[in-house]
């Protein structure tokens, strides 16, 4: 029989930076796919050796340091941007990345995040919007949709008691020190590719010293949403993207 191994071409595989780790995420969680985006972008930009990651408290916190082969620290809830500030100021050549959930960045850490933008820090943030506090059992997050049921909005989020959904990249785009702000998803292959491009652009802005880059990932949380993994994909297309439109809100070649 003829040996065909020389004809076999590898078309895909685990990214080199993706560590083999225990399954950290629930079935249907998009954090695993976003991990792949981060790995591929860091590899393609060739910045793994300079990369220092800061993981917020949330499902991302357990996962990121164990799954991506770069220097990492986990951070107290909401405090990654302050810690990243010091690291980047001390090592201006490093690629400093925070990965934070919507509770972590949008609630407890909103002040910390906004002040990093006020100071005009040169950092990159991956913002994970799954519309709930996944880790603690699906409570309301600042990004929870109006009418959406969570364990602390049993009748659905209503404006009177719970206020309005938070739009982080749109908010960040208003700040002068921000060079790049975008929202993406990984719920279809085409969106996966767009998400990669967005994160790549954001990190490149940091490496070029242009300014802060933030990329929001709208992400499924099946247990938090009370939906099956496949149903989550429709929920993203039909409900999440209605409130959280995809796109670039800012893309500057120079901040003043």
């Amino acid at each position: 029989m003829k040996d065909k191994s020389s004809d076999v071409k590898k078309v895909t595989g685990r990214p080199g930076l993706r560590l083999q780790s225990l399954g950290m995420y629930c079935p249907g969680c998009h954090y695993g796919i976003i991990t792949r985006v981060i790995c591929e972008v860091i590899e393609e930009l060739g910045v793994a050796g300079k990369a220092i990651g800061l993981a917020g408290v949330g499902c991302s916190f357990g996962g990121a340091p164990m799954t991506i082969d770069i220097d990492w620290t986990s951070c107290p809830h909401g405090r990654a941007p302050a810690m990243a500030t010091a690291i980047k100021r001390i090592y201006p050549d490093a690629m400093v990345l925070t990965v934070q959930g919507d509770g972590d960045l949008g609630a407890i850490g909103l002040g910390c995040f906004m002040n990093a933008l006020v100071r005009g820090e040169n950092l990159t943030t991956v913002f994970l919007n799954n519309a709930v506090y996944g880790t603690t059992g699906g409570q309301m997050a600042p990004t929870t949709l109006l009418g959406m049921k969570t364990t602390t909005t049993p009748l659905g989020r209503d404006i009177k008691t719970n206020g309005y959904p938070l739009h982080v990249p749109e908010l960040a785009a208003t700040m002068r020190g921000v060079a790049y702000a975008a929202r993406c998803t990984v719920h279809t292959p085409a969106n996966f590719q767009r998400a990669k491009k967005s994160l790549k652009t954001a990190i490149q802005k940091q490496m070029d010293g242009i300014g802060y880059g933030i990329v929001e990932f709208v992400s499924a949380c099946p247990p938090g949403w009370g939906l099956k993994p496949l149903e989550c994909l429709d929920y993203i297309s039909e409900r999440m993207l209605e409130e959280y439109p995809l796109g670039e809100f800012k893309n500057l070649d120079k901040t003043d």
Binding site: K50, P65, W72, T73, S74, A82, M83, I87, Y91
Partner: protein, 360 residues
Amino acid sequence: MSERILVSGNNAVARGAIQAGCKYFFGYPITPQSEIPEYMSKELPKIGGIYVQSESESGSIYMVYGGGLTGKRIMTSTSSPGLSLMAEGMSYLAEQEIPAVIVDVVRMGPGIGTGGQGAQTDYLQVTKGCGHGGYHAIVLAPASGQEIFDLMQLAFFLADKYRGPVMVITDFILGQTEEPIELRTLDFGPLPEKEWALTGKEKRGGNRVTHVAAFFTYQGILNYHMKLIEKYAEIKRAEVRYEKYLADDCDLLIVAYGSSARIARGAVDMGRAKGFKLGLFRPITLWPFPVEAIAEGASKAGRVLVVEDSQGQLVEDVEASVKGRVPVHLLGMWGRHNVGGGGIIHPERVIEEVEKLNER
């Protein structure tokens, strides 16, 4: 001999830190310590360092945490209300074993306290671990400008040696008083390499470093706690510091730290001139506390008088050390010469207290 200059205690904090090689300061304004960030914002850029003004003391402590993770010498300073905001971060610094120096220029509390007036009302907060979870920070309590300058250098050394937060605690009086200091460099010996520092893995030949929550890293969370318990025991064995003044031949031992110890020393001299056999025991490390030395001194003297400008905080540790073997009396903030914020306990008032005790 090194140069001598006349500076405030706050200035001595900043100079001592720079002398120790600290180039990174993260802080937020609060009276009576604002001269420290002001000095750092002027001087650090000149030596290639960095000063960042945070948005709050919470911001400061997390910048300190991030900076500490790089392995560089890092500090912040604050006063009492700000220290409460730093409590969460202190707990994380202890858990993750990140060296950092935190200075508390105490103002009278609780609550907003009194900005332009002093007191020693943070003793319990700094010595019992101001954040959650049960941990210790070494706490150094200087009593003069020179000692502030020297202990700042020691603080950075101890932070590196034992990997954790070290506190230096002064107050309004010490921070604002100008005294001559000698700008000497202290050498405490060699320290291990900081292999744990985050640098980006290319600087370590591709080996990555991660700092994740303790329950992820160790084979069993108890092993992690045992390591910290052993570290704290070692600190208690090796790092207790105190000063005695006429304390080996006295029949009343005064125990006081920081600015109150300066006052108490004056009272000892004043009392001795009157024929009272007074002695002073001054803890320099508030944690680890000089338990055995105080117990021994107290037993010898037969009586103890704690002088502290607070509601009575240090006295709890003194009582715990003495274990009821001899009577422990307290002259607290009620000994101040006036009821306004500018009141202080004068040596004369200490002598009055001694006379009252002598009549018993």
